[in-house]
Amino acid sequence: MLTLKCPYCGITAEETELHAGGEAHLTRYGPDSSDDNFETYLFTRENPKGVHFERWRHSHGCGKWFHAARCTLTMEVFGTYSAQTTKPPQTILDAITAKRPGWSWRDLS
């Protein structure tokens, strides 16, 4: 079972206490954007076998949204971090590089 540490309340919560919120760091294109951008925002998602970045909510706990970096193949969790950011912090990227040299996800690597 997946266990993630909530960066807001410090609880190491297991999956049943959390709610998955889909892919992280999407750019939300609004009404004045191009059709292509809007379509990409709505429908195009990464589907990696390996490193992935996701949003989670500690729904049965403090109720806060946060980000998690994990491996979809092994369920290994590289770390969790605040929701108040548009890209993963360097410490998370370094932790992934240490364990999965040569990884890439969108324009991150």
């Binding site: 309340c9 609880i11 206490e17 403090c62």
Partner: protein, 190 residues
């Protein structure tokens, strides 16, 4: 004015742990910026206890504060005093961004008494209840079986559980079943 009645009228179950619906309890839900001195001073003045640290419960008699999230605390007080505490807060925090609401009639409080209460909670929540990890004064928001709940330990033999009033009968059934005599697991050496 109609007479306020608690969800289960102090329903009680005696198993290896005694489960009781605690009756009417004043609860004021408060959200705001914990880094603001104005906010924290107003909250602890209204509650009569200092601001609790992360995942802590602090109380003095029937007054208390529960840490619910990085921007939310729950104030405990006798039921008839909840509106007064709320008014005090609102006047002290006029002009400061905050949210305060009397939720006394929207929540239900249960008490668990007995040496086996860690076991009762461990059966229902995905929480490590061992005595050296979850100690008196600590609070945990989680789920008990299928419903959201918060609980904290007043001592090693007394715990309190808060849930939504709408699920109070379910919570009573859950706690009673988990506390049924003969269903002890003996995980924590009780």
């Amino acid at each position: 004015m109609s007479e306020p009645i608690s969800a289960l009228r102090r329903a009680r179950y005696e198993g290896f742990v005694t489960v009781e619906e605690a009756g009417l309890q004043g609860m004021v839900q408060i959200r705001g910026d914990f880094d603001s001195d104005i906010f924290t001073r107003a909250v602890s003045d209204a509650a009569g206890v200092p601001m609790p640290g992360q995942r802590k419960a602090l109380w003095e008699g029937r007054q208390g504060l529960l840490w619910m999230s990085p921007d939310e605390v729950m104030l405990l007080c006798p039921y008839p005093e909840a509106d007064r505490a709320l008014a005090r807060l609102d006047s002290a925090l006029a002009g400061t961004h905050h949210l305060a609401l009397n939720v006394s009639d929207a929540r239900t409080l249960f008490t668990l008494e007995g040496t086996g209460l860690r076991e009762v909670l461990a059966k229902l929540a995905p929480v490590d209840m061992s005595p050296d990890v979850f100690r008196p004064g600590m609070l945990r928001r989680t789920r008990l079986a299928q419903v959201a709940a918060a609980f904290w330990l007043r001592s090693d033999t007394r715990a309190e559980v808060i849930c939504f009033r709408s699920v109070a009968p379910y919570m009573m059934d859950l706690l009673s079943t988990a506390a049924a005599t003969g269903s002890e697991v003996g995980l924590h050496g009780d």
